[in-house]
Protein backbone atom coordinates (compact mmCIF):
# COMPACT_ATOMS: atom_id res chain seq x y z
CA UNK A 1 0.00 0.00 0.00
CA UNK A 2 2.27 2.80 -1.16
CA UNK A 3 1.88 6.03 -3.12
CA UNK A 4 -1.64 7.01 -2.08
CA UNK A 5 -2.73 9.76 -4.46
CA UNK A 6 -5.67 12.00 -3.57
CA UNK A 7 -7.06 15.43 -2.81
CA UNK A 8 -7.21 17.15 0.58
CA UNK A 9 -10.55 17.59 2.32
CA UNK A 10 -10.19 19.68 5.48
CA UNK A 11 -12.10 19.06 8.74
CA UNK A 12 -11.71 20.62 12.19
CA UNK A 13 -10.85 19.54 15.75
CA UNK A 14 -12.77 17.05 17.91
CA UNK A 15 -14.89 15.54 15.14
CA UNK A 16 -16.63 12.80 17.11
CA UNK A 17 -18.22 9.51 16.12
CA UNK A 18 -21.72 10.92 16.75
CA UNK A 19 -20.90 13.65 14.22
CA UNK A 20 -19.70 11.09 11.67
CA UNK A 21 -22.59 8.63 12.10
CA UNK A 22 -25.42 10.03 14.25
CA UNK A 23 -26.99 7.35 16.44
CA UNK A 24 -30.33 7.50 14.60
CA UNK A 25 -28.53 5.93 11.60
CA UNK A 26 -27.07 3.01 13.57
CA UNK A 27 -30.02 0.68 13.20
CA UNK A 28 -29.98 1.07 9.39
CA UNK A 29 -29.26 -2.29 7.82
CA UNK A 30 -27.76 -0.94 4.61
CA UNK A 31 -24.31 0.65 5.22
CA UNK A 32 -24.70 2.67 2.00
CA UNK A 33 -27.85 4.30 3.39
CA UNK A 34 -25.94 5.11 6.56
CA UNK A 35 -23.08 6.60 4.53
CA UNK A 36 -25.53 9.12 3.03
CA UNK A 37 -25.87 10.64 6.54
CA UNK A 38 -22.11 11.01 7.15
CA UNK A 39 -21.33 14.22 9.09
CA UNK A 40 -24.87 15.51 8.50
CA UNK A 41 -24.83 17.60 11.70
CA UNK A 42 -21.46 19.20 10.89
CA UNK A 43 -22.04 19.76 7.17
CA UNK A 44 -25.29 18.56 5.60
CA UNK A 45 -23.64 18.82 2.15
CA UNK A 46 -20.62 16.67 3.09
CA UNK A 47 -21.56 13.56 1.11
CA UNK A 48 -22.16 15.68 -1.99
CA UNK A 49 -18.82 17.43 -1.64
CA UNK A 50 -16.58 14.47 -0.80
CA UNK A 51 -15.16 12.74 -3.87
CA UNK A 52 -13.76 9.24 -4.18
CA UNK A 53 -10.04 9.51 -3.71
CA UNK A 54 -10.19 12.26 -1.14
CA UNK A 55 -7.78 12.35 1.78
CA UNK A 56 -9.29 13.76 4.95
CA UNK A 57 -7.14 16.24 6.84
CA UNK A 58 -8.40 16.74 10.38
CA UNK A 59 -7.42 18.46 13.60
CA UNK A 60 -7.01 17.12 17.12
CA UNK A 61 -8.76 14.08 18.64
CA UNK A 62 -10.36 12.85 15.42
CA UNK A 63 -12.99 10.16 15.99
CA UNK A 64 -13.44 10.74 19.72
CA UNK A 65 -16.43 9.04 21.32
CA UNK A 66 -18.06 5.72 20.57
CA UNK A 67 -16.50 2.43 19.45
CA UNK A 68 -18.93 2.33 16.49
CA UNK A 69 -16.82 1.13 13.57
CA UNK A 70 -19.51 2.46 11.24
CA UNK A 71 -17.74 5.82 11.73
CA UNK A 72 -14.79 4.40 9.77
CA UNK A 73 -16.77 2.25 7.39
CA UNK A 74 -18.80 5.18 5.98
CA UNK A 75 -15.57 6.88 4.90
CA UNK A 76 -14.48 3.63 3.23
CA UNK A 77 -17.79 3.50 1.37
CA UNK A 78 -17.37 7.14 0.34
CA UNK A 79 -13.95 6.27 -1.11
CA UNK A 80 -11.74 8.10 1.39
CA UNK A 81 -8.17 6.83 0.90
CA UNK A 82 -6.45 8.02 4.08
CA UNK A 83 -7.03 10.23 7.11
CA UNK A 84 -4.38 12.61 8.38
CA UNK A 85 -5.05 14.15 11.82
CA UNK A 86 -3.16 16.05 14.48
CA UNK A 87 -4.29 13.31 16.86
CA UNK A 88 -6.70 10.35 16.78
CA UNK A 89 -8.98 8.92 19.44
CA UNK A 90 -7.69 5.48 20.40
CA UNK A 91 -10.56 3.23 19.30
CA UNK A 92 -10.99 5.20 16.08
CA UNK A 93 -7.34 4.74 15.15
CA UNK A 94 -7.56 0.98 15.73
CA UNK A 95 -10.73 0.78 13.68
CA UNK A 96 -9.09 2.67 10.78
CA UNK A 97 -6.12 0.32 10.61
CA UNK A 98 -8.31 -2.76 11.12
CA UNK A 99 -10.52 -1.93 8.13
CA UNK A 100 -7.51 -0.98 6.03
CA UNK A 101 -7.52 2.83 5.92
CA UNK A 102 -4.19 4.47 6.80
CA UNK A 103 -4.35 6.87 9.73
CA UNK A 104 -1.46 9.33 9.82
CA UNK A 105 -0.70 11.48 12.84
CA UNK A 106 0.81 14.81 11.84
CA UNK A 107 0.81 18.39 13.09
CA UNK A 108 -0.10 20.65 10.18
CA UNK A 109 -1.33 24.17 9.40
CA UNK A 110 -2.74 26.06 6.42
CA UNK A 111 0.77 26.34 4.96
CA UNK A 112 0.91 22.54 4.81
CA UNK A 113 -2.52 21.66 3.40
CA UNK A 114 -5.44 23.55 1.84
CA UNK A 115 -8.72 22.23 0.52
CA UNK A 116 -8.28 20.42 -2.77
CA UNK A 117 -4.47 20.15 -2.67
CA UNK A 118 -3.21 17.13 -4.61
CA UNK A 119 -1.30 14.89 -2.18
CA UNK A 120 0.83 11.80 -2.67
CA UNK A 121 1.48 9.81 0.52
CA UNK A 122 4.25 7.25 0.89
CA UNK A 123 3.63 5.16 3.99
CA UNK A 124 7.02 3.42 3.65
CA UNK A 125 9.00 6.61 3.41
CA UNK A 126 6.86 8.54 5.88
CA UNK A 127 6.51 11.42 3.43
CA UNK A 128 3.58 13.39 2.03
CA UNK A 129 4.28 15.27 -1.20
CA UNK A 130 1.86 18.18 -1.65
CA UNK A 131 2.00 18.56 -5.45
CA UNK A 132 -0.16 21.69 -5.43
CA UNK A 133 2.08 23.54 -2.98
CA UNK A 134 5.24 21.71 -4.14
CA UNK A 135 6.33 20.85 -0.61
CA UNK A 136 7.32 17.64 1.17
CA UNK A 137 6.15 16.93 4.71
CA UNK A 138 7.57 14.12 6.83
CA UNK A 139 5.54 12.15 9.36
CA UNK A 140 6.29 9.45 11.93
CA UNK A 141 6.07 6.19 9.99
CA UNK A 142 3.58 3.61 11.18
CA UNK A 143 5.18 0.59 12.89
CA UNK A 144 5.64 -2.44 10.64
CA UNK A 145 3.07 -4.28 12.74
CA UNK A 146 0.40 -1.86 11.51
CA UNK A 147 1.58 -1.48 7.91
CA UNK A 148 1.38 -5.27 7.59
CA UNK A 149 -2.34 -5.05 8.44
CA UNK A 150 -2.83 -2.24 5.91
CA UNK A 151 -0.98 -4.20 3.21
CA UNK A 152 -3.46 -7.04 3.63
CA UNK A 153 -6.33 -4.58 3.21
CA UNK A 154 -7.32 -4.91 6.85
CA UNK A 155 -7.04 -7.31 9.74
CA UNK A 156 -9.90 -9.57 8.60
CA UNK A 157 -7.96 -10.47 5.43
CA UNK A 158 -4.81 -11.02 7.47
CA UNK A 159 -6.70 -13.26 9.91
CA UNK A 160 -8.33 -15.22 7.08
CA UNK A 161 -4.91 -16.13 5.69
CA UNK A 162 -3.73 -17.12 9.15
CA UNK A 163 -6.76 -19.35 9.74
CA UNK A 164 -6.17 -21.13 6.42
CA UNK A 165 -2.61 -22.06 7.41
Amino acid sequence: MDAINGFAYILGDDINTDDIVPSHTLTMRDPHEMAKCTLEFIDPQFVKKIDKGNIIIAGENFGTGSSREEAVNVFKILGVKAIIAKSFARIYFRNLINVGIPGITLTWDENTFSKGDNLVISLYKGVIFNKTKNIKVEFAKLPEFLTNILNEGGIINQLKKMLLK
Binding site: P22, G65, S67, R68, G154, I156
Partner: protein, 417 residues
Protein backbone atom coordinates in the same frame (compact mmCIF):
# COMPACT_ATOMS: atom_id res chain seq x y z
CA UNK B 1 11.40 -3.66 36.08
CA UNK B 2 8.79 -1.96 38.30
CA UNK B 3 5.32 -1.93 36.82
CA UNK B 4 2.00 -0.10 36.85
CA UNK B 5 -1.26 -2.02 37.18
CA UNK B 6 -1.80 -1.86 33.41
CA UNK B 7 1.70 -3.17 32.67
CA UNK B 8 1.27 -6.05 35.15
CA UNK B 9 -2.07 -7.21 33.79
CA UNK B 10 -1.00 -6.92 30.13
CA UNK B 11 2.23 -8.81 30.82
CA UNK B 12 0.27 -11.53 32.62
CA UNK B 13 -1.94 -11.94 29.53
CA UNK B 14 0.93 -12.07 27.02
CA UNK B 15 3.50 -14.81 26.43
CA UNK B 16 6.37 -12.36 26.95
CA UNK B 17 8.81 -12.08 29.85
CA UNK B 18 8.99 -8.30 29.83
CA UNK B 19 7.00 -5.45 28.25
CA UNK B 20 7.33 -1.68 28.19
CA UNK B 21 5.14 1.28 27.14
CA UNK B 22 4.84 1.80 23.39
CA UNK B 23 5.41 -1.88 22.59
CA UNK B 24 2.86 -3.77 20.45
CA UNK B 25 1.91 -7.06 22.08
CA UNK B 26 -0.67 -9.80 21.68
CA UNK B 27 -2.79 -10.69 24.71
CA UNK B 28 -5.24 -13.43 25.69
CA UNK B 29 -8.71 -12.04 26.39
CA UNK B 30 -10.57 -13.24 29.51
CA UNK B 31 -14.02 -11.97 28.52
CA UNK B 32 -15.64 -10.04 25.68
CA UNK B 33 -18.90 -8.09 25.97
CA UNK B 34 -21.08 -7.50 22.92
CA UNK B 35 -24.42 -5.71 22.52
CA UNK B 36 -26.45 -4.58 19.49
CA UNK B 37 -23.20 -4.02 17.55
CA UNK B 38 -23.35 -7.79 17.03
CA UNK B 39 -26.29 -7.29 14.68
CA UNK B 40 -25.10 -3.90 13.45
CA UNK B 41 -21.71 -4.72 12.04
CA UNK B 42 -19.92 -7.55 13.87
CA UNK B 43 -21.87 -10.40 12.25
CA UNK B 44 -21.16 -9.04 8.76
CA UNK B 45 -17.42 -8.90 9.45
CA UNK B 46 -17.35 -12.29 11.17
CA UNK B 47 -19.09 -14.09 8.32
CA UNK B 48 -16.22 -12.98 6.02
CA UNK B 49 -13.89 -15.29 7.97
CA UNK B 50 -15.84 -18.34 6.84
CA UNK B 51 -15.53 -20.25 10.12
CA UNK B 52 -18.35 -21.97 11.96
CA UNK B 53 -17.12 -21.57 15.54
CA UNK B 54 -16.10 -18.97 18.10
CA UNK B 55 -12.98 -19.51 20.18
CA UNK B 56 -14.83 -19.91 23.48
CA UNK B 57 -18.61 -19.43 23.75
CA UNK B 58 -18.22 -19.35 27.55
CA UNK B 59 -16.16 -16.15 27.42
CA UNK B 60 -18.67 -14.05 25.52
CA UNK B 61 -21.18 -11.87 27.39
CA UNK B 62 -24.04 -10.86 25.09
CA UNK B 63 -26.81 -8.44 26.00
CA UNK B 64 -29.33 -6.24 24.22
CA UNK B 65 -29.55 -2.80 25.85
CA UNK B 66 -29.32 0.13 23.46
CA UNK B 67 -32.75 -0.04 21.86
CA UNK B 68 -34.88 -2.20 24.18
CA UNK B 69 -37.69 -2.90 23.83
CA UNK B 70 -37.27 -2.26 20.10
CA UNK B 71 -38.69 1.20 19.28
CA UNK B 72 -38.51 0.78 15.49
CA UNK B 73 -38.71 -1.98 12.90
CA UNK B 74 -35.04 -1.53 12.03
CA UNK B 75 -34.05 -1.96 15.69
CA UNK B 76 -36.21 -5.09 15.91
CA UNK B 77 -34.45 -6.49 12.84
CA UNK B 78 -31.08 -5.69 14.37
CA UNK B 79 -32.13 -7.68 17.44
CA UNK B 80 -33.18 -10.58 15.20
CA UNK B 81 -29.71 -10.58 13.60
CA UNK B 82 -28.09 -10.54 17.07
CA UNK B 83 -30.16 -13.42 18.39
CA UNK B 84 -29.57 -15.50 15.27
CA UNK B 85 -25.79 -15.06 15.65
CA UNK B 86 -25.86 -15.89 19.38
CA UNK B 87 -27.84 -19.04 18.63
CA UNK B 88 -25.67 -20.10 15.70
CA UNK B 89 -22.46 -19.85 17.74
CA UNK B 90 -23.95 -21.27 20.98
CA UNK B 91 -23.32 -18.25 23.21
CA UNK B 92 -23.68 -19.38 26.81
CA UNK B 93 -24.10 -15.99 28.51
CA UNK B 94 -27.00 -14.61 26.48
CA UNK B 95 -28.63 -12.02 28.74
CA UNK B 96 -31.54 -11.14 26.48
CA UNK B 97 -33.15 -7.69 26.64
CA UNK B 98 -34.65 -7.49 30.13
CA UNK B 99 -31.55 -7.26 32.36
CA UNK B 100 -30.44 -3.68 31.77
CA UNK B 101 -27.40 -1.80 30.50
CA UNK B 102 -24.29 -3.89 29.73
CA UNK B 103 -21.86 -1.98 31.96
CA UNK B 104 -24.14 -2.36 34.97
CA UNK B 105 -25.29 -5.94 34.43
CA UNK B 106 -21.88 -7.48 33.71
CA UNK B 107 -20.33 -6.37 37.05
CA UNK B 108 -23.56 -7.15 38.97
CA UNK B 109 -23.28 -10.74 37.75
CA UNK B 110 -19.67 -10.99 38.95
CA UNK B 111 -18.10 -11.13 35.48
CA UNK B 112 -15.57 -8.32 36.15
CA UNK B 113 -12.94 -9.25 38.72
CA UNK B 114 -9.44 -8.04 39.68
CA UNK B 115 -6.65 -8.93 37.30
CA UNK B 116 -8.86 -9.68 34.30
CA UNK B 117 -8.46 -8.34 30.76
CA UNK B 118 -11.90 -7.54 29.31
CA UNK B 119 -12.86 -5.92 25.99
CA UNK B 120 -16.26 -4.90 24.71
CA UNK B 121 -17.97 -3.50 21.64
CA UNK B 122 -18.65 -0.24 23.45
CA UNK B 123 -16.39 2.66 24.36
CA UNK B 124 -17.67 2.73 27.96
CA UNK B 125 -16.28 -0.76 28.56
CA UNK B 126 -13.68 1.15 30.61
CA UNK B 127 -16.28 1.02 33.44
CA UNK B 128 -14.98 -2.33 34.72
CA UNK B 129 -11.69 -0.66 35.69
CA UNK B 130 -13.50 0.08 38.96
CA UNK B 131 -12.99 -3.63 39.71
CA UNK B 132 -9.18 -3.54 39.52
CA UNK B 133 -9.16 -5.09 36.06
CA UNK B 134 -8.22 -3.76 32.62
CA UNK B 135 -11.13 -3.18 30.28
CA UNK B 136 -11.55 -1.15 27.14
CA UNK B 137 -13.74 -0.59 24.09
CA UNK B 138 -13.06 -2.01 20.63
CA UNK B 139 -14.73 -1.88 17.21
CA UNK B 140 -16.55 -4.60 15.28
CA UNK B 141 -13.47 -5.89 13.45
CA UNK B 142 -11.50 -6.25 16.67
CA UNK B 143 -14.47 -8.12 18.15
CA UNK B 144 -14.32 -10.51 15.19
CA UNK B 145 -10.62 -11.12 15.82
CA UNK B 146 -11.33 -11.96 19.47
CA UNK B 147 -14.29 -14.18 18.55
CA UNK B 148 -12.04 -16.16 16.20
CA UNK B 149 -8.81 -16.34 18.21
CA UNK B 150 -9.38 -15.17 21.80
CA UNK B 151 -6.46 -12.79 21.28
CA UNK B 152 -6.03 -9.11 20.46
CA UNK B 153 -3.16 -6.71 19.77
CA UNK B 154 -2.48 -3.95 22.28
CA UNK B 155 -0.06 -1.07 22.48
CA UNK B 156 1.26 -1.01 26.04
CA UNK B 157 0.10 2.35 27.42
CA UNK B 158 1.90 4.88 29.57
CA UNK B 159 0.08 5.47 32.86
CA UNK B 160 -1.08 8.56 34.75
CA UNK B 161 -1.28 8.19 38.52
CA UNK B 162 -4.26 10.09 39.95
CA UNK B 163 -4.42 10.20 43.73
CA UNK B 164 -7.47 11.29 45.72
CA UNK B 165 -7.08 12.77 49.19
CA UNK B 166 -9.75 13.74 51.78
CA UNK B 167 -13.46 13.19 51.12
CA UNK B 168 -16.28 14.67 49.07
CA UNK B 169 -18.62 17.19 50.70
CA UNK B 170 -22.39 16.74 50.87
CA UNK B 171 -24.08 17.24 47.50
CA UNK B 172 -20.88 16.49 45.57
CA UNK B 173 -20.59 13.14 43.76
CA UNK B 174 -17.98 11.15 41.87
CA UNK B 175 -19.49 12.52 38.63
CA UNK B 176 -18.24 15.93 39.72
CA UNK B 177 -14.74 14.46 40.19
CA UNK B 178 -14.54 13.00 36.70
CA UNK B 179 -16.05 16.11 35.05
CA UNK B 180 -13.41 18.16 36.87
CA UNK B 181 -10.62 15.80 35.73
CA UNK B 182 -11.77 15.81 32.08
CA UNK B 183 -12.08 19.60 32.20
CA UNK B 184 -8.53 19.86 33.55
CA UNK B 185 -6.75 17.40 31.25
CA UNK B 186 -9.08 17.99 28.23
CA UNK B 187 -10.80 15.44 26.00
CA UNK B 188 -7.50 14.61 24.31
CA UNK B 189 -5.36 14.80 27.45
CA UNK B 190 -5.21 11.06 28.05
CA UNK B 191 -5.38 9.56 24.55
CA UNK B 192 -4.02 5.98 24.68
CA UNK B 193 -3.11 6.33 28.40
CA UNK B 194 -4.03 4.19 31.37
CA UNK B 195 -5.38 6.23 34.28
CA UNK B 196 -4.59 4.55 37.60
CA UNK B 197 -6.59 5.75 40.61
CA UNK B 198 -5.11 5.79 44.12
CA UNK B 199 -6.58 7.01 47.44
CA UNK B 200 -9.92 5.43 46.61
CA UNK B 201 -11.16 4.25 50.02
CA UNK B 202 -13.78 6.98 50.53
CA UNK B 203 -15.44 6.30 47.17
CA UNK B 204 -18.30 3.82 46.79
CA UNK B 205 -18.14 1.07 44.16
CA UNK B 206 -20.96 2.82 42.27
CA UNK B 207 -18.98 6.05 42.36
CA UNK B 208 -15.80 4.38 41.14
CA UNK B 209 -17.73 2.92 38.20
CA UNK B 210 -18.85 6.44 37.20
CA UNK B 211 -15.22 7.60 37.12
CA UNK B 212 -13.91 4.59 35.18
CA UNK B 213 -16.87 4.89 32.80
CA UNK B 214 -15.95 8.42 31.75
CA UNK B 215 -12.14 8.13 31.48
CA UNK B 216 -12.72 7.45 27.77
CA UNK B 217 -14.08 11.02 27.50
CA UNK B 218 -10.49 12.13 28.17
CA UNK B 219 -9.28 9.66 25.52
CA UNK B 220 -8.03 7.05 28.01
CA UNK B 221 -7.66 3.38 27.20
CA UNK B 222 -8.06 2.16 30.78
CA UNK B 223 -9.28 3.73 34.02
CA UNK B 224 -8.18 1.27 36.66
CA UNK B 225 -8.73 1.52 40.41
CA UNK B 226 -6.59 -0.18 43.02
CA UNK B 227 -8.27 -2.84 45.14
CA UNK B 228 -9.46 -2.52 48.74
CA UNK B 229 -11.72 -4.34 51.24
CA UNK B 230 -14.78 -2.56 49.91
CA UNK B 231 -14.12 -4.01 46.45
CA UNK B 232 -13.34 -7.51 47.69
CA UNK B 233 -16.55 -7.61 49.75
CA UNK B 234 -18.49 -6.52 46.67
CA UNK B 235 -16.90 -9.18 44.45
CA UNK B 236 -17.29 -12.00 46.96
CA UNK B 237 -21.02 -11.35 47.16
CA UNK B 238 -21.34 -11.72 43.42
CA UNK B 239 -18.81 -14.29 42.25
CA UNK B 240 -17.36 -17.58 43.44
CA UNK B 241 -14.47 -17.42 40.95
CA UNK B 242 -10.91 -16.94 42.14
CA UNK B 243 -9.13 -13.67 41.43
CA UNK B 244 -5.82 -11.94 42.09
CA UNK B 245 -5.80 -8.31 43.18
CA UNK B 246 -3.19 -6.27 41.33
CA UNK B 247 -1.14 -3.57 43.05
CA UNK B 248 1.37 -1.40 41.21
CA UNK B 249 5.03 -1.66 42.19
CA UNK B 250 6.29 1.13 44.45
CA UNK B 251 8.81 2.21 41.83
CA UNK B 252 6.39 2.03 38.89
CA UNK B 253 6.94 4.76 36.31
CA UNK B 254 4.09 7.19 35.59
CA UNK B 255 4.13 9.69 32.76
CA UNK B 256 2.12 12.11 34.90
CA UNK B 257 1.11 12.31 38.55
CA UNK B 258 -1.99 14.26 39.58
CA UNK B 259 -3.59 14.78 42.98
CA UNK B 260 -7.16 15.84 43.74
CA UNK B 261 -8.34 16.98 47.14
CA UNK B 262 -11.93 15.75 47.09
CA UNK B 263 -13.03 18.20 49.79
CA UNK B 264 -12.24 21.04 47.38
CA UNK B 265 -14.37 19.69 44.52
CA UNK B 266 -17.74 21.39 44.00
CA UNK B 267 -20.69 20.48 41.74
CA UNK B 268 -19.53 20.54 38.11
CA UNK B 269 -21.39 20.80 34.82
CA UNK B 270 -20.10 20.05 31.30
CA UNK B 271 -21.63 22.64 28.99
CA UNK B 272 -22.66 21.87 25.39
CA UNK B 273 -21.22 20.23 23.35
CA UNK B 274 -18.22 18.46 24.87
CA UNK B 275 -17.69 16.48 28.09
CA UNK B 276 -14.51 18.51 28.48
CA UNK B 277 -16.39 21.81 28.55
CA UNK B 278 -16.42 21.80 32.35
CA UNK B 279 -17.68 24.64 34.53
CA UNK B 280 -18.38 25.04 38.22
CA UNK B 281 -22.11 25.14 38.77
CA UNK B 282 -22.10 28.84 39.71
CA UNK B 283 -21.36 29.63 36.04
CA UNK B 284 -24.50 27.95 34.68
CA UNK B 285 -27.02 28.30 37.51
CA UNK B 286 -30.41 29.54 36.39
CA UNK B 287 -30.27 28.20 32.81
CA UNK B 288 -33.81 26.99 32.06
CA UNK B 289 -34.30 23.35 31.08
CA UNK B 290 -36.98 21.44 29.19
CA UNK B 291 -35.88 18.01 30.37
CA UNK B 292 -33.81 16.34 33.04
CA UNK B 293 -32.52 12.81 32.52
CA UNK B 294 -31.24 10.47 35.21
CA UNK B 295 -29.91 7.18 33.92
CA UNK B 296 -27.27 5.47 31.72
CA UNK B 297 -24.16 3.37 32.39
CA UNK B 298 -22.61 6.48 33.92
CA UNK B 299 -25.20 7.34 36.56
CA UNK B 300 -28.23 5.07 36.71
CA UNK B 301 -27.11 3.06 39.74
CA UNK B 302 -28.84 2.60 43.10
CA UNK B 303 -26.63 5.23 44.78
CA UNK B 304 -27.77 7.70 42.10
CA UNK B 305 -31.45 6.84 42.49
CA UNK B 306 -31.17 7.07 46.30
CA UNK B 307 -29.77 10.58 46.21
CA UNK B 308 -32.45 11.56 43.70
CA UNK B 309 -35.19 10.21 45.98
CA UNK B 310 -33.71 11.96 48.99
CA UNK B 311 -33.83 15.27 47.13
CA UNK B 312 -37.28 14.69 45.58
CA UNK B 313 -39.10 13.35 48.65
CA UNK B 314 -42.15 15.47 49.37
CA UNK B 315 -41.47 17.73 46.39
CA UNK B 316 -42.69 17.95 42.79
CA UNK B 317 -40.80 18.59 39.63
CA UNK B 318 -41.30 21.89 37.84
CA UNK B 319 -44.54 21.59 35.78
CA UNK B 320 -42.90 22.75 32.53
CA UNK B 321 -39.99 20.32 32.93
CA UNK B 322 -39.91 16.62 32.07
CA UNK B 323 -37.92 14.33 34.36
CA UNK B 324 -37.06 10.90 32.96
CA UNK B 325 -35.49 8.27 35.19
CA UNK B 326 -34.03 5.08 33.70
CA UNK B 327 -32.52 2.62 36.23
CA UNK B 328 -29.29 1.11 34.87
CA UNK B 329 -30.42 -2.48 35.40
CA UNK B 330 -33.28 -4.69 36.47
CA UNK B 331 -31.48 -5.25 39.78
CA UNK B 332 -31.30 -1.50 40.35
CA UNK B 333 -34.96 -1.17 39.32
CA UNK B 334 -36.09 -3.87 41.77
CA UNK B 335 -33.99 -2.47 44.60
CA UNK B 336 -35.43 1.01 43.99
CA UNK B 337 -38.92 -0.49 43.97
CA UNK B 338 -38.37 -2.31 47.27
CA UNK B 339 -36.94 0.80 48.89
CA UNK B 340 -39.94 2.86 47.81
CA UNK B 341 -37.88 5.14 45.56
CA UNK B 342 -40.09 4.60 42.51
CA UNK B 343 -43.13 5.85 44.45
CA UNK B 344 -41.27 9.05 45.28
CA UNK B 345 -40.25 9.54 41.64
CA UNK B 346 -43.65 8.87 40.14
CA UNK B 347 -45.52 10.94 42.72
CA UNK B 348 -43.16 13.85 42.08
CA UNK B 349 -44.07 13.77 38.39
CA UNK B 350 -41.11 11.88 36.94
CA UNK B 351 -41.41 9.19 34.27
CA UNK B 352 -39.65 5.93 35.21
CA UNK B 353 -38.68 3.73 32.26
CA UNK B 354 -37.47 0.22 31.64
CA UNK B 355 -33.70 -0.13 31.87
CA UNK B 356 -32.06 0.78 28.52
CA UNK B 357 -29.43 3.08 27.04
CA UNK B 358 -32.49 4.85 25.57
CA UNK B 359 -32.30 8.61 25.97
CA UNK B 360 -28.50 8.69 26.42
CA UNK B 361 -27.99 7.87 22.74
CA UNK B 362 -31.02 9.78 21.51
CA UNK B 363 -32.49 6.39 20.75
CA UNK B 364 -35.89 6.43 22.44
CA UNK B 365 -37.61 7.10 25.80
CA UNK B 366 -36.78 10.78 25.99
CA UNK B 367 -35.39 12.07 22.68
CA UNK B 368 -34.91 15.87 22.56
CA UNK B 369 -36.72 18.10 20.05
CA UNK B 370 -35.37 21.15 18.17
CA UNK B 371 -33.80 23.74 20.45
CA UNK B 372 -34.59 21.89 23.69
CA UNK B 373 -32.30 22.09 26.71
CA UNK B 374 -31.58 19.05 28.87
CA UNK B 375 -29.55 18.43 32.01
CA UNK B 376 -28.39 14.85 31.97
CA UNK B 377 -26.48 12.41 34.18
CA UNK B 378 -25.02 10.75 31.07
CA UNK B 379 -21.52 10.82 29.58
CA UNK B 380 -21.64 12.68 26.26
CA UNK B 381 -23.23 15.96 25.23
CA UNK B 382 -22.09 15.98 21.61
CA UNK B 383 -24.20 17.82 19.04
CA UNK B 384 -27.37 15.78 18.49
CA UNK B 385 -26.35 13.04 20.93
CA UNK B 386 -29.72 13.09 22.74
CA UNK B 387 -31.85 14.09 19.77
CA UNK B 388 -32.15 17.16 17.52
CA UNK B 389 -28.90 18.77 16.38
CA UNK B 390 -30.10 22.09 17.81
CA UNK B 391 -30.75 20.66 21.29
CA UNK B 392 -28.35 21.52 24.10
CA UNK B 393 -27.16 19.09 26.76
CA UNK B 394 -25.51 19.88 30.09
CA UNK B 395 -23.87 16.92 31.85
CA UNK B 396 -24.05 16.82 35.64
CA UNK B 397 -24.33 14.58 38.69
CA UNK B 398 -27.57 12.84 39.68
CA UNK B 399 -27.91 15.30 42.59
CA UNK B 400 -27.62 18.32 40.28
CA UNK B 401 -29.93 16.77 37.65
CA UNK B 402 -32.64 16.04 40.23
CA UNK B 403 -32.43 19.44 41.94
CA UNK B 404 -32.62 21.12 38.53
CA UNK B 405 -35.74 19.10 37.66
CA UNK B 406 -37.49 20.50 40.75
CA UNK B 407 -36.75 24.11 39.85
CA UNK B 408 -36.91 23.85 36.06
CA UNK B 409 -33.48 25.43 35.80
CA UNK B 410 -29.92 24.40 36.57
CA UNK B 411 -29.64 24.50 40.37
CA UNK B 412 -26.90 23.75 42.90
CA UNK B 413 -27.87 20.58 44.84
CA UNK B 414 -26.14 21.86 47.98
CA UNK B 415 -29.06 24.29 48.36
CA UNK B 416 -31.49 21.45 49.09
CA UNK B 417 -29.33 18.82 50.79
Amino acid sequence: MSKTVAEKILLEHSDLKEISPGQFIECDIDLIMVHEQLGGRIHKEYEKLGIDYVWDPNKIFFILDHWVPAPTISAAQMHQDCRAFAKKYNFIHDMGMDKGICHQVLPEMGFSRPGMLIVGSDSHTTTYGAFNCLSTGIGATDVSVVFATGKLWFKVPESYKITFVEELNKGVMSKDIILKIIGDITTKGAIYKSLEFHGIESLSIDGRMTISNMVVEAGAKFGVFLSDNKLENWIQKRSKEEYNVIHPDKEAIYEKTLEYNLSEITPMVAKPSSPGNAAEIENVEGIEIDQAFLGSCTNGRIEDLRIAAKILKGKSIDPKTRFIITPASKEVYITAMKEGLLDIFINAGAVVTHSTCGACIGGHMGVLGEGEVCISSTNRNFVGRLGAASSQVYLASPATVTTSAIYGKITDPREVL
